[in-house]
Structure formats: structure tokens, C-alpha cells
């Protein structure tokens, strides 16, 4: 799955996802990606976020919407992303998932759920302070 958030110079936000889901799914199964608030979410007055991972679990917690609401209340993007992951961990400690977050001033962050085979999450960043697309990593929590 690709989850993407974009803010233009004026701070107009947009978010989106595209995926082919999970291998060997039962026909008809749809994951979190096309669900606004789960796969991705954007609101010019608060920020934008996108999620990736086990869609059957993520979908139930609306992680992208929740992250944006945390940023609306002043949390920085990394903290907002971490709080969303922590919420899901309580119910599904072994879920596979990651979230990216951006606030209205162009700050960004990410978080992921730590598993034995998944301890870091890579994501891409490109803004006016960089001269090219840059891969960044976060340690999972």
C-alpha cells in the first residue's frame, strides 16, 4: 500500500491511498485504505495523516482521523502518530501497522508498532528544505 499526504505552499492539504490489499483475501474483502479516516485523512485546519499495515485491524480504529484530531489539539506529528499506534496496541499488541502525520505548518512525523521482524519504518519526505526526495526511518514503539 502507498499512503500519501501533500500540503501545498498555501497549506492546502490532500491525502490518498492505493493498494491491492492482502494476499489470498476472501473475495470482496476491502481493507482500511479506501475508508476516509482509516487509510488516510486530510483537513486544512488540523493536518493530514495516512496509514499502512493490517487493514482489517487498522480500519476499526480510524487511525488517520484520530492522528489529525490529536494534531488539532496541539500534539506534534510524531506524538500524534505514536498515540494512535498505542491505542491499537492495547487491543492487538501484535498488529502490523504504521502511520505518517503532517501538521498545517509542514511539520511531519511517523510511528509504527514494534514486532520482532519489524522494528523500523521507512517513509519518504520532500519539502522546500530538501533538494530531493529523502528516505527517513523511525524506530517502532
Amino acid at each position: 500500500t502507498i499512503g500519501m499526504v501533500v500540503l501545498d505552499k498555501m497549506g492546502h492539504t490532500a491525502a490518498g491511498t492505493s493498494t491491492n490489499g492482502i494476499k489470498f483475501k476472501i473475495p470482496g474483502r476491502v481493507g482500511d485504505s479506501p475508508i476516509p479516516g482509516s487509510g488516510a485523512y486530510a483537513d486544512d485546519t488540523a493536518g493530514a495523516a495516512a496509514a499502512t499495515g493490517d487493514g482489517d485491524i487498522l480500519m476499526r480504529f480510524l487511525p488517520s482521523y484520530q492522528a489529525v484530531e490529536y494534531m488539532r489539539r496541539g500534539k506534534d506529528p510524531t506524538t500524534a502518530c505514536q498515540k494512535v499506534i498505542a491505542r491499537i496496541q492495547k487491543y492487538f499488541p501484535n498488529f502490523f501497522g504504521a502511520v505518517i502525520c503532517a501538521n498545517v505548518t509542514g511539520g511531519y512525523g511517523a510511528a509504527c508498532n514494534k514486532l520482532p521482524a519489524f522494528t523500523q519504518f521507512s517513509f519518504m519526505v520532500y519539502n522546500s528544505l530538501k533538494s530531493q526526495p529523502t528516505e527517513e526511518k523511525v524506530d517502532c514503539i
Binding site: M4, V5, L7, S18, F24, A117, F123, N127
Partner: protein, 182 residues
Amino acid sequence: SSPLPLVLNTWPFRNATEAAWKTLALGGSSLDAVEGGCASCEVEQCDGTVGFGGSPDESGETTLDAMLMEGTTMNVGAVGDLRRIKNAIGVARKVLEHTTHTLLVGESATKFAQSMGFVDEDLSTKDSRALHSDWLAQNCQPNYWRNVIPDSSKYCGPYKPRSVFKQDGSIHKETGYGYGHD
């Protein structure tokens, strides 16, 4: 100085980031940029979890999900379980622009896409067909069934509900990394 504009995307899909940035640089909106970035992954398939030829379902078919959201008007267009159309994010854009709906799914979403001019084509590939036949050869493991007969942890379907609901407490199999994810 402000760090805006900003392009941020999951996983190290560099070309998608580049495509979105170029769209902005050419005067496109943030929505155009997200569409362009996701579309480039649909063409390149990125890590196999985006676009045609990946994640065959139990019948061997690849179907696509996609969504676009615009944060100024809160307008959304989305497709789920889209069949035989490669540019899912493009169809999501048409849902956003040409309907007042939010989400179209399944075969009906494919009919909508055809009416919008998208080409109907087979999304499976040699790789996805091989993946599927290997899966069949391994008694359809792993799969996403539970409380059914025959035992889904050992056999392929078709399955019927097991008459006595076995209280195993698990309402979802936590799949962990590497098993399959969106």
C-alpha cells in the same frame, strides 16, 4: 522560512514522492499531487502491494482499493474491490469529481470506471498466477477463515459454518509482519 510544500508517503517509494513533487512544481494542486504520486506506484507496482499483479485473492484475482481526500472542502472519492481496472486512484478521482458519493465498490465500481473511459483489462500476471497456484498447492494456507468446516487451518474450502461456535476468544487473527498487509 516555511518548509511547505510537503510531500510525505509511506514506505521508500521514491518515484512516487518525486511524481507528486513534480506535479506541484508544474502548478498542480495538492490533490493532483497525491493522485500523481499514487498513480506512479500503480504503474510501477512499487513493492507489489500496489496496483495490478499483486495480492491475488482466493480465486486468483487482483482487485484494487484507492481513496483521495481534499482537506479544504473535505471532498472524498474512493473505490473498493475495484475489478479489472488498473488506475484505481484515477477512478477514485472521478468518484470525487463526478458524483456526490464517497465510495463505490466491486463490479459496479468497474462499470462506473468504464463509463468514465477507463479500460477494462486483466490485472493478473505470471507472478500473481504462480503465487496463487502455489497457495492452492499448500492447502490454501494461510487464509482468513475461522470456525468453519472443513478445518481452514488444514484444508481448502469451500467452507461451511461449524455448527458449534468454538469459543477460542480470537475475534481476529493477528497476522504480524510478513503474513500479508495493506
